[in-house]
Each structure stands twice: as structure tokens, then as C-alpha cells.
Amino acid sequence: MTAILWAFDVVLAVTLVALAAGVLATASLFRSIVLFIVFGLTMSIAWARLDAVDLGLVEAAVGAGLTGALLLNTLGHMRSQAEFTPEPSHGPGGRLALALAAGTAGLAIGAAVWAWPDAFAGLGDRVDTHLAESGAQNPVTAVLLNFRAYDTLLEIGVLVVAVVAVWALSPMRGRVLDADPPGLVLAGFVHLLVPVVVLVAGYLLWMGTDAPGGAFQAGAVLAAAGVLLLITGRVAPPQLQAIVERGAVVLGLVAFLAVGVAVMAGGHAFLELPDAWATTLILLLESLLTISIAIVLVILFAGGRTDAAHPPEDAAP
């Protein structure tokens, strides 16, 4: 059995590196992006192999799905002549020098990894000791929303900043999204699938406290439904002018800060969840985070601001 698993690990690793090389070497940008999506999906298998199911879920939804959709959307914006761009060559000497430099850096990092001790507890033992008081059975969720809630607070902050940046960069003039009517089959698909996706997002959210899953997975899955609605023309691109959407964007951040400050009234430190309330607070925070993450990712996909001052022109190229 171990021999089969080793063969699997070898095939997986070779596939990953070959896909990465393919992404960067393929002449057609469209193919390159498709390979990148396959790379993300293959990464999620690697996460599963390393017992990182939480990461596998996020990678499949975000790394492969959403990043791929973002890239394809941008490629669509960049007009078709951008599709085949011959990469200017650095000349054999230049390429060799670049490869040597990258290879040397790799060897140095590889040597450092090689020197790792075989056994290393890290912070795992401390997480295990305090897991019972975290309010979550899934250690990854416990770390995210309790032990290192600072990280998550800052992360949701990063998401909000990203929305502001994207919004500032691109008033959505010109082509919004494909104006092609979805057709009966796609419309039927969306009609059946989106409600189920909403349910699955709720399920991932619920599961997150004691098994792989949580706000990030749920938010990413919900965002996928939003993107599907967006590209099939079932909903207009988010109108950031609308108070509801602005509210949804900052909902997670505000709730996180509010909870962090509120617990201080009980004599706790900032973001130090009281043991008795931890489970409830985590579930509440995760629910609000899910909504914010989903709306942020959809806005990032839509890739720009639509407002009264810059009404989107019709999709005619």
C-alpha cells in the first residue's frame, strides 16, 4: 500500500511542477489560464494528501475557481489580440542566467528544508491543550477565530482594502459582462444550482466549528454562486453606491471589531473570547464573515465600480 501511495505522491508532484511550467510556457494565454485552473485543482489534491482538507476546500473554490474566473474575465477585457503574445526572448545567455539564479535560490531553500528535524511539534500541542476552551472542535477554526483572531481580523481588513483599491482603479466603463443571453440549458442549470449552493455554503459554515469548513470556504462557495448569477445576467453587477452592498462589504470587519471590543467590557483582552460564549460568538462571527467574504469576492470579480456618475455602457465592443 505504501508503494502505491508513494507512486501517487511522485505522480502528483511531477504533475504539479509540469502544470506550473506549462502555465508559464504555453503561448496561448487562454490555454495558460486553463492550465492554471487545473493547477489549482491539483493543488487541492495535494492539500488533501497532507491532511489539510480545510485548505483543499478553499483552494478548489478560491485558488482554482475564483482566481481562474478573474483571469478569464480580465483576458476577455483585454481584447482578443492579447491572446497570443509571443514572449520576447532574453537570449540563451540571459535565460541561462535567470534559470541559474532561480535554481540557486531553490537549492538554498531546498537545503534549508532538507535540514528540518523530522519531528517538530510546532504550536500543535498548545492548540490541543486549549482546544476545549476555544469554542470549536476543528483546530483550524479554533486558531482562525479564537487563538489567532488577530490574523483573521486583519485578513478581512485586507479584503475590504482590496475592494476599495479595485473600485478606485476601475469605474466600470465599457463592456460590463457578456451580454449573451444564457439560453435555456444554462438558465435551468443556474436556477437549480444556485439554491443548492446557498445551502451548501450554510452547511460548510455549520461544519466549520468541528470539521473542515468555515467562513472562508462558505464565503467562497457563496461567491461562486454570485459569479454564476453575474455572468448569466441574472443580477446586475454589485452597485457599491448602494448602502446595502457597502454595508455587506464591511459587515464582517465591523462585527469582528465590535465583538473584539465588547469582550473587553467583561475584563478580557481585545478579541479574547470568553470561554462560555466562544461557540456562539464564533458561529455569529463566521456567519457575518461568510456574507462579507462572498460579497467582496463577487465585487472583486465584477472588477469595478458601477455608479450613477459612470453608468456602464452597453456591452457592445
Binding site: L184, V185, G188, H191, P195, V196, Y203, W206
Partner: protein
């Protein structure tokens, strides 16, 4: 007898109330939630709002249609589907592995008789792609383009037979389809 599922009645003179649709869909989605969580009673804290949100989404996305599902039609369809999906796969697998690749692909055209835009059509067009040698390649109005892997008149015959089975699920009358 048929279970009335809320969806479309294209020529209905009165607007149809969304409430029965909402209730039926919420019930269906609640059973999906039950399956997902393995019947965990505590999960309804998240489950109830999630089911409600999903049901509202479903109703908001659909047109106010009304359609019926005949349990007898479903009961007759399932073995038909299972058998033909199996045969279809074995057939393609055989052709793919055969050294001489015995295929003769062609496009065929078919006029759909199932009612316009309804869920029966969506099911029909999707299932066509799972049956032996047929694949729905395009749809414009009532005109379905089928890609046949083996060609010949068999392609259209199989599609026609499927349409009758689908019509039985939804209690549709195919004879008035040429409106």
C-alpha cells in the same frame, strides 16, 4: 394523481401566488439539508436561515411557472434512464477502446414538442447527452441539434423515445406541441 410543484403556467391569466412555491421548495431544500448534516438537530440554527435563503433564491430566480410531476412517470423513467445511461457509456467506452474506432458522427435536427421553456425541456436536453450515441449540441427555439456518434436514423428515434418518457414525467401532451 400528481404532486403540484410550483412553477410555471405561461398562459395563466392571474398572477400566481409565490407562497405555495416557497413552501414546497423550502420543504425540498430542508430535506437536502437533512441529508447534508446527517440529521443533526443542532444544525438548524444555521440550517433554517440557509433553507429559507435558498428557497427565496429559488423562487426569485424562476419564472412564476407551475408544473406537475407524475410519480408513475418518474417510476417508469428511472429504470429506463439507468439502463440506457449504462448502455450508452458501455457503447462509447467500447468504441473508444476499439482499434478501428467504429464511429460515424453526424448532426441531426429535431423539433422539440415538449412545452416551451419549461423544466421538462431542460431535463430533456440534458438527458439526451447521457443516452447512447446522442449529445445535445445546440438549441434554438424548438430546434434541437443532436450530435450522433453513430449517425443514421437511430439517433432521432432514440431522442423521440426519450421525449415521450420525459412528457410522461411532467404529464405533458405532446400532440399539441406544434403550436
Amino acid at each position: 394523481m400528481g404532486v403540484v410543484l410550483p412553477l410555471d403556467e405561461p398562459r395563466s391569466p392571474r398572477p400566481v401566488s409565490p407562497v405555495p412555491r416557497l413552501v414546497v421548495r423550502a420543504a425540498v431544500l430542508a430535506s437536502v439539508w437533512w441529508i447534508l448534516t446527517g440529521g443533526d438537530a443542532g444544525s438548524w440554527v444555521i440550517g433554517a436561515p440557509a433553507v429559507l435563503a435558498a428557497a427565496v433564491t429559488s423562487v426569485a430566480l424562476g419564472r412564476p411557472e407551475r408544473w406537475r410531476v407524475s410519480p408513475a412517470g418518474v417510476a417508469r423513467f428511472l429504470p429506463f434512464f439507468a439502463w440506457h445511461a449504462l448502455i450508452g457509456s458501455i457503447d462509447v467506452a467500447y468504441r473508444a477502446l476499439h482499434p478501428r474506432l467504429p464511429i460515424a458522427p453526424s448532426f441531426e435536427h429535431y423539433e422539440i414538442r415538449l412545452p416551451d421553456e419549461g423544466p421538462s425541456r431542460v431535463l430533456f436536453v440534458n438527458v439526451v447527452s447521457l443516452l447512447p450515441g446522442t449529445l445535445s449540441a445546440d438549441l434554438e427555439g424548438d430546434a434541437l441539434t443532436v450530435h450522433g456518434l453513430i449517425g443514421g436514423t437511430g439517433t432521432i428515434d432514440r431522442v423521440k423515445a426519450l421525449e415521450v418518457r420525459i412528457a410522461a414525467i411532467f404529464d405533458c401532451d405532446l400532440s399539441e406541441g406544434d403550436r
